[in-house]
């Protein structure tokens, strides 16, 4: 299992010819594969590419897109850009987190089904407030009740 896992990793690195300038793209592809960046994966990438682990870790922690903790099957992003903020992104976040029983800094439910995060701007300000699910599903002009309805649809399919 472990061997196979690293084989996939190696394939990604190879497809970029191990170029250091492609590190971000490599991390993006790896994260797509595992949904997050496990520590041993970062170490493997560093060794395979012949660069210090600190470099890989440094890049992985710098960008908001990368996560070093596992994410849920459904990643719900609540846009909190200016337009969404002034039109009520906060109550949506509040309702969602309450429904999923997320407390403190927690972003992901214990069963790894849902991750709730706020992002700074999705660029659909005309539809504010906006919520997306796994990038491909966009819901505009959201309300706290509306978002719970969307959530229920996903809970049902599980």
């Amino acid at each position: 299992m472990q061997q196979r896992k690293f084989q996939r990793l190696q394939n990604i690195i190879d497809s970029h010819e191990g170029k250091v300038s492609h590190l971000i793209a490599i991390l993006q592809e790896v994260q797509e594969e595992y949904r997050y960046l496990p520590e041993e994966v970062l170490t493997y990438i560093a060794t395979a590419m012949g660069i210090p682990p600190a470099t890989v870790y440094g890049v992985a922690t710098f960008y908001a897109q990368f996560s070093m903790i596992p994410k849920g099957k459904y990643v719900i992003k609540i846009c909190d850009g200016t337009a969404c903020h002034v039109r009520g992104a906060e109550p949506i976040n509040f309702a969602l987190r309450k429904e999923l029983k997320l407390t403190g800094d927690e972003q992901t439910t214990k069963d790894l089904q849902f991750t709730v995060e706020t992002v700074s701007c999705l660029g659909a300000c005309g539809l504010a407030p906006v919520v997306t699910i796994n990038e491909n599903e966009v819901h505009g002009q959201m309300t706290p009740e509306g978002v719970l309805e969307v959530l229920r649809k996903f809970q049902k399919t599980e």
């Binding site: 170029k19 200016t82 337009a83 002034v86 109550p91 700074s120 701007c121 504010a128 491909n136």
Partner: protein, 626 residues
């Protein structure tokens, strides 16, 4: 494969003829906004129905010969996102809004088959009640002048031939065969085009530096890392007219002697990435990108690079570091990227909108471009109009238009008859303007005088129920989060500023904190290394300048006049107005509301989370804050 200028001209003629043979063209907006509202379902339904009615329909512009009369296509963003999904029917530019899958049958039967308008889907003016049929008659569009957005919403972004039929790649052909690099730069200088990313540096001057710089190789970078909260014009251009961006890059490349370019796009814009990648592949296949383009001797290659989520990467030097695969941290300038940029080579970084203006400047001339806008800020500028304005969306207007015209004429004023309070312009780098600025001419220099800046063009309208201190805190939270941490004034300064602002909104601050906040703001502005830190205090400084009384209300009276800052409010139920419907108790997430049916309810102050859900839901306006 196009091998010469004549090949391109022939393709233009062929595609143009195909376009003119179309009896009707139905365009369904497939920008992010409309897709979110289900425009792709509308598109599919339309395709199914035209098949069912056995109509001669084509999907691509030229490939399906013999299917001329009707064309069904997706298009890029029309800008009027809030009204989506949008459908535009040519000829005439008939404009349907809020089109759902179930409406398609009526459009086909009435409009396509019988040439009658589907009245109920047309735009009705909210005040006059007058219904208009075409896009050009809608007030939102009437005051606009479209240059960069010329084709957005008119062409299929996934079809190279459609772009060519609308005159695409003619500008690069003219550049390659009729102009020298010097002449291209001269034309751009004459146009007076200034960088549309926010800085406003003259594009031609920047190019001059790179053209005269020495290096083994030169690069063009298209900055599509639109991180400003509240701005989305670059996304719309990349999604709606990707070939135009590529053509702009090629013109810039020819002017400075570069043979390679990068488009740096935010990962948050997956549709833009997809459309750009497709555009690059199609242009390569057609011979419009690659080696020896149209046999002119000029070669140009374009790579698409996805960002990974860092606001600071909008800063030139940080963006370069990010393309090189490193942490996106800025470095001191000089040397400027025009001399030492990507991998140490002379590099020009232009914003998406800047590049999208270039084909028109080349084809119509710098003088023509100068005909729009003001003396020092020529041309047009796109703004993302959002917030509490009635009509939100993307607008392109000549520079120099007043804020009043944008907010009240194009934007139709504030929704729900709220009173206008402020406009936040230019995102975290910009500032807040008040009703005293409504007649200010929107150009680079006037805005800078008022303490704000155009930035990337985000324009968020705020009504009376927005707390300006909270808005300042919101932006400070954003920049504090996005500070790369390299230089101390930005890393520590913004953190302390956020602490003070938080204390103010929670009623814990004194007047001396306000002085410290101001002092810190000026220190961060002076001491920071890059644009992020230098402009981070702008929202604080402008709100302090124009809304000082609101700060004082929070500090002295421990009150939030707009009723936003939760720590300073308590929710109560007006016992006379409450009808005891129980809706508030039902929606209260904290179960803080109690009461018997048909009797006035009460809120337990200790349990109340101050989320405001009850107030929103109450039909009798019985809930108030104090």
């Amino acid at each position: 494969m196009l091998k010469s200028k004549d090949d391109l001209l022939n393709l233009y003629k062929q595609t143009r003829e195909a376009l003119e043979r179309e009896k009707m063209r139905i365009l369904i907006c497939a920008g992010t906004g409309c897709v979110a509202n289900g425009s792709l379902e509308v598109y599919e339904e339309l395709q199914d129905l035209v098949k069912k009615y056995n109509l001669p329909v084509k999907i691509h512009l030229v490939e399906e010969v013999g299917h001329e009369p009707y064309a069904v296509n997706i298009s890029g963003c029309h800008g009027f996102c809030q009204m989506g999904p949008l459908v535009r029917v040519e000829p005439g530019g008939v404009f349907y809004h809020h089109v759902k899958k179930d409406d398609v049958q009526e459009i086909v039967e009435k409009h396509i088959l019988n040439n009658q308008l589907v009245e109920r889907l047309l735009y009705t003016h909210p005040v006059t009640g007058q219904t208009v049929a075409t896009q050009d008659e809608i007030p939102f569009y009437q005051k606009q002048t479209r240059v960069a957005l010329e084709h957005c919403g008119r062409i299929n972004p996934d079809d190279l031939n459609d772009y060519i039929a609308h005159g695409g790649y003619q500008a690069i052909a003219r550049t390659l065969f009729n102009m020298t690099p010097e002449k291209v730069i001269k034309e751009v200088l004459e146009s007076g085009l200034r960088g549309r990313g926010g800085g406003g540096f003259p594009t031609g001057r920047k190019w001059q530096f790179a053209a005269s710089a020495q290096g083994p190789k030169k690069y063009i970078i298209c900055n599509g890392d639109e991180g400003d909260p509240g701005a989305f014009m670059d996304r719309s251009v990349m999604e709606g007219d990707p070939h135009r961006v590529l053509e702009g890059m090629m013109i810039a490349g020819f002017a400075i002697g570069a043979d390679e370019g990068y488009v740096y796009v935010r990962a948050e814009y997956p549709l833009a990435v997809k459309r750009l990648k497709r555009a690059v592949a199609e242009a390569e296949k057609a011979g419009l990108l690659g080696d020896n383009i149209l046999n002119s001797g000029f070669s140009f290659k374009v790579n698409i690079k996805e960002g990974a989520g860092a606001f600071v990467c909008g800063e030139e030097t940080a963006l370069i570091a990010s393309i090189e695969g490193e942490r996106g941290m800025p470095r001191p300038r000089p040397p400027f990227p025009a001399n030492k940029g990507l991998w140490g080579c002379p590099t020009i970084i232009n914003n998406v909108e800047t590049l999208a203006n270039l084909p028109s400047i080349i084809l119509k001339g710098g003088k023509w471009f100068r005909g729009f806008g003001t003396e020092c800020s020529p041309g047009t500028k796109t703004f993302a109009l959002a917030g509490q304005v009635a009509h939100t969306g993307l607008v392109e207007i000549p520079m120099g238009m007043s804020l009043r015209e944008i907010v009240f004429e194009i934007g139709g004023g504030l929704r729900e008859n709220k009173k206008f309070k402020a406009v936040q312009i230019g995102g975290p780098s910009g500032g807040c303007l008040t009703k005293d600025h409504l007649d200010l001419s929107l150009d680079y220099d006037e805005l800078r005088k008022a303490g704000a800046m155009i930035g990337s063009g985000g324009l968020v309208v705020m009504g009376e129920d927005t707390c300006m201190v909270e808005v300042a805190k919101f932006f400070m939270g954003f920049v504090q989060n996005e500070s790369c941490g390299k230089c101390v004034p930005c890393r520590e300064g913004t953190k302390r500023m956020l602490e003070i602002l938080t204390a103010i909104t929670e009623g814990r601050a004194g007047e001396e904190d306000l002085l410290l906040l101001e002092e810190l703001a000026l220190a961060v502005q002076d001491g920071s290394l890059c644009g992020l830190g230098k402009t981070a205090p702008n929202p604080v400084l402008t709100t302090l300048k124009y809304f000082r009384d609101e700060y004082m209300a929070h500090i002295r009276d421990k009150k939030c006049p707009a009723g936003v800052c939760k720590a300073l409010l308590d929710y109560h139920i007006d016992q006379d107005k409450c009808k005891g419907c129980g809706l508030c108790a039902k929606v209260c997430p904290a179960e803080a509301i109690t009461g018997n049916k048909k009797e006035p309810h009460v809120i337990e102050v200790e349990k109340c989370l101050k989320c405001g859900t009850c107030m929103e839901k109450c039909k009798f306006n019985a809930i108030y804050t104090a």
